[in-house]
């Protein structure tokens, strides 16, 4: 692949828990196009899974979608996870996981973002009335 060339893969999934696995599987294949170690591929996959799960939890039962755009470049893999769930939407019923964490004084939303920051090199989150876009960047090893 030349310096300037990059490939793009797009996937649109319903914003529902059973499709998060579909996104994770696709990302596994996409991240494998990069010269990443297996651990790094898994880290990217986990980060995308987190971004999707976050969208799914906010969406609740509203009919929303998640668009995942992956750009496979020579130097980095950029994955955008964009949902159309308006910012500020809170889950109607917090998950059991969220309840457990709340008891320990943990803010789950912040934790998801923190986890993504640990797993990939750059995380940028933009929320608006139109939805949330999470941009994840993982650089190729030198």
């Amino acid at each position: 692949m030349s310096e300037s060339q990059s490939d793009t893969v797009q996937l649109i999934i319903p914003c529902r828990p059973e499709y998060v696995g579909v996104a994770r599987l696709a990302v596994l294949g996409i991240a494998s196009r990069m010269p990443f170690s297996y651990d790094e591929v898994e880290d990217v996959r986990l980060a995308v899974g987190e971004a999707c799960t976050h969208a799914v939890e906010r969406a609740g039962s509203s009919p929303s979608t998640i668009q995942i755009t992956s750009t496979i470049g020579a130097r980095a893999l950029l994955i955008e996870v964009a949902d159309n769930v308006p910012a500020g939407t809170e889950p109607s019923v917090p998950s059991e996981e969220a309840q457990n964490l709340a008891e320990a004084g943990v803010d789950q939303q912040g934790l998801g973002a923190l986890l993504m920051e640990i797993l990939v090199d750059e995380v940028k989150i933009d929320s608006s009335a139109a939805g949330t876009i999470v941009r994840l960047t993982k650089y190729a090893p030198d």
Binding site: L25, Y38, D39, L111, L114
Partner: protein, 258 residues
Amino acid sequence: MTTKKPSQDWTQDDAETLFLRYARTRDSQLRDRLVAMHHNLVRYLAGKFVNRGEPLEDLVQVGTIGLINAIDRFDSGRGTKFSTYATPTIVGEIRRYFRDKAWSLKVPRRLQELNQTAARAQEELSSKLGRPPTIQEVAAKIGASEEETLEAIELGNAYDTVSLDSKVVNDSDSAPLSLAEFVGAEDESLLKIDAYGDLDQAIEKLEPRERAIIIHRFFKDMSQAEVAKQLNISQMHVSRLQNRALAQLKKHMDESIN
């Protein structure tokens, strides 16, 4: 004024107060309570890594080591939430565990095993159901998630195959050859091996001097000059007799094949 039992007071302490007291006293009982209080955080984070094939309890254990380190180093006066402070330490410990176990080297084997298990389950279910099973049915049968099952079917196969372009080195001096170069083509001369019996008979039909020339030239690897000397004739004569003998043989062989 209501009086509370001291023990009740104790349990109602919030994390912040406990951290302040622990920082001052380094009391191991306080630390135990802080560890217990944040057990769910460790479980939550460890749970994110379960699909990498290690038991959740092992991951919770190494994550707890990270938690304890974080509790020991946490300074609540800095204004950072403990969960924010501890998460990188806990996750770091879990990731190091995979790295130290050389986990990535075992991935192909784990997937291959899961792939074989899935293939067996697929066969069993096919004969039981009288139709090919769905991925969900296979996943349920082998006790894996749908995602893991799909991954095992897809990647387990990929790991099983070796690229034809992969380099094979058979000794250190020679340049590596690709595997494709070792893959043989159908050897057509093998198909003709049956005809060798016929060749024997054809040679028998030659007149003695021609037969001698054929045997010396092609079975004993002698040169025309050597044969000429042996038979005490000229090399030109050998050449002529040889050509005639070969034409004879060809004629016999064509007759016996057709």
